[in-house]
């Protein structure tokens, strides 16, 4: 049996500063947990306590694909991440052109068959 300690995870987000509106080593209950909505700390990395919760808020004002991940590097490699696709219809217009994607990915696909190392983690 593998015992996983409920350790603290530093949660980091790209693309936004977020408000930290709640953070405690306690059970979260949406109906009773008190959240601070008045000038809460704004930052881009905050800890999720073991056996607890981290409550954050941010405004949707920056179209893009933004990753949020645990900043313990091993955990990021172990897939502890998600991505927000924010205002999807507006994302492409934030790039000058999209040929860079195609060119870079073509180069990558040409490189893959001759490279020595295979992707052996989440790739984050």
């Amino acid at each position: 049996m593998l015992i996983i300690p409920r350790i603290t995870h530093p949660i980091h987000m790209h693309g936004h500063d977020f408000w930290v509106i709640g953070q405690a080593a306690a059970k979260f209950d949406a109906s009773t947990t008190v959240l601070n909505l008045t000038n809460p700390p704004r930052r881009d990395t905050a800890s999720l306590p073991g056996n607890g919760y981290l409550a954050i808020a941010f405004q949707i004002d920056n179209p893009g694909s933004w990753i949020m991940h645990c900043h313990i590097a091993w955990h990021a490699s172990q897939g502890f991440a998600l991505q927000f696709v924010e205002s999807e219809d507006e994302i492409l217009s934030t790039f000058a052109e999209d040929t860079t994607f195609q060119d870079t990915c073509s180069a990558w696909n040409a490189y893959i068959p001759i490279q020595a190392y295979e992707q052996d983690d989440s790739g984050i």
Binding site: V20, L37, P41, A46, G123
Partner: protein, 271 residues
């Protein structure tokens, strides 16, 4: 700038093969701005060479110094302190805050803090301590991740000062101390999503988040052996390329939460 980090004599690419089993490998040392010493006398590792130096900073009595701290560790939580000095904390993650006074500072991985310290101690040599939190993860030189403050930079002797004893707290500075200088309120928010953190033992140990399957309608659920909630990047087909190719049905391993205009409230929890 003051970079606080951990260090191993092995590369992370080697250590990853330990980490992927589940338990994190213990790194041998920590560095301050890339510098530290290490006692190799009891090491059989041929890569342990010794001969390092401590990071040093000169203080001129009466002056104030701004230090910009960042935790760049792989797996380390620091309780930063300066023997003989308290300091003011003036910013977190580049956001200016109402300054507060303290003599120690919790810095989680990825976090940045700006502090102002006044050179107001009796002239001498003082330890600057990246206090390693052994309660959060192990390190082979937990008590020795230090630099030196010198009021007389012609001195070459080590400080004899004693300082803060690192405690066992692995979290952030108290929220009530972190008050942004420019006040912004959250106001009304449109929706709340709850993302639970879990894990899965697959081909290796995987963490999961967003595994409650509360996906939006445009997430494609396909049959893979990846548990929902573990993000696995396909370097050949990144998220924005899929958008450019109008492929916005998201395979589960992209672990996407689509969001549209409205304020979003997000909560992550460990059950």
């Amino acid at each position: 700038m003051v970079f606080l980090s951990d260090w191993s004599h092995d590369s992370v690419f080697e250590l990853w093969y330990i980490a992927m089993q589940g338990g994190p490998p213990e790194l041998e040392n920590g560095l301050i701005n890339g510098m530290n010493t290490f006692d190799c006398s009891s090491s059989t590792d041929e890569k342990c060479l010794g001969g390092g130096k401590k990071f040093e900073v000169s203080f001129e009595a009466g002056k104030k110094y701004r230090m910009r701290l960042i935790n760049t560790a792989v797996d380390g939580h620091f309780q930063f302190s300066l023997d003989g000095h308290s300091f003011q904390v003036i910013a977190m993650d580049l956001v200016p805050i109402v300054p507060y006074e303290t003599d120690n500072l919790y810095i989680s991985i990825g976090q940045r803090y700006d502090i102002i310290v006044e050179a107001n101690a009796a002239p001498g040599n003082y330890w600057l301590r990246a206090g390693w939190q052994t309660a959060c993860s192990a390190n082979g030189n937990a008590e020795g991740i230090t630099g030196i403050i010198r009021y007389d930079n012609s001195s070459t002797s080590d400080p004899t000062t004693t300082g803060l004893t690192v405690d066992t707290f692995c979290g952030d500075e108290a929220l009530e101390n972190l008050v942004p200088h420019v006040a912004l309120n959250v106001g009304k928010y449109g929706e709340m999503t709850i993302e639970e953190v879990g894990f899965n033992i697959g081909s290796y140990f995987e963490w999961t988040v967003n595994s409650s399957q509360s996906f939006g309608a445009n997430v494609l659920h396909i049959g893979t052996n990846k548990l929902l909630g573990s993000l696995i990047l396909d370097w050949a087909n990144p998220t924005n390329l899929r958008l450019a190719n109008q492929e916005s049905l998201w395979p589960a391993e992209y672990n996407v939460i689509p969001i549209e205009v409205s304020r979003v409230l997000l909560e992550a929890k460990q059950c």
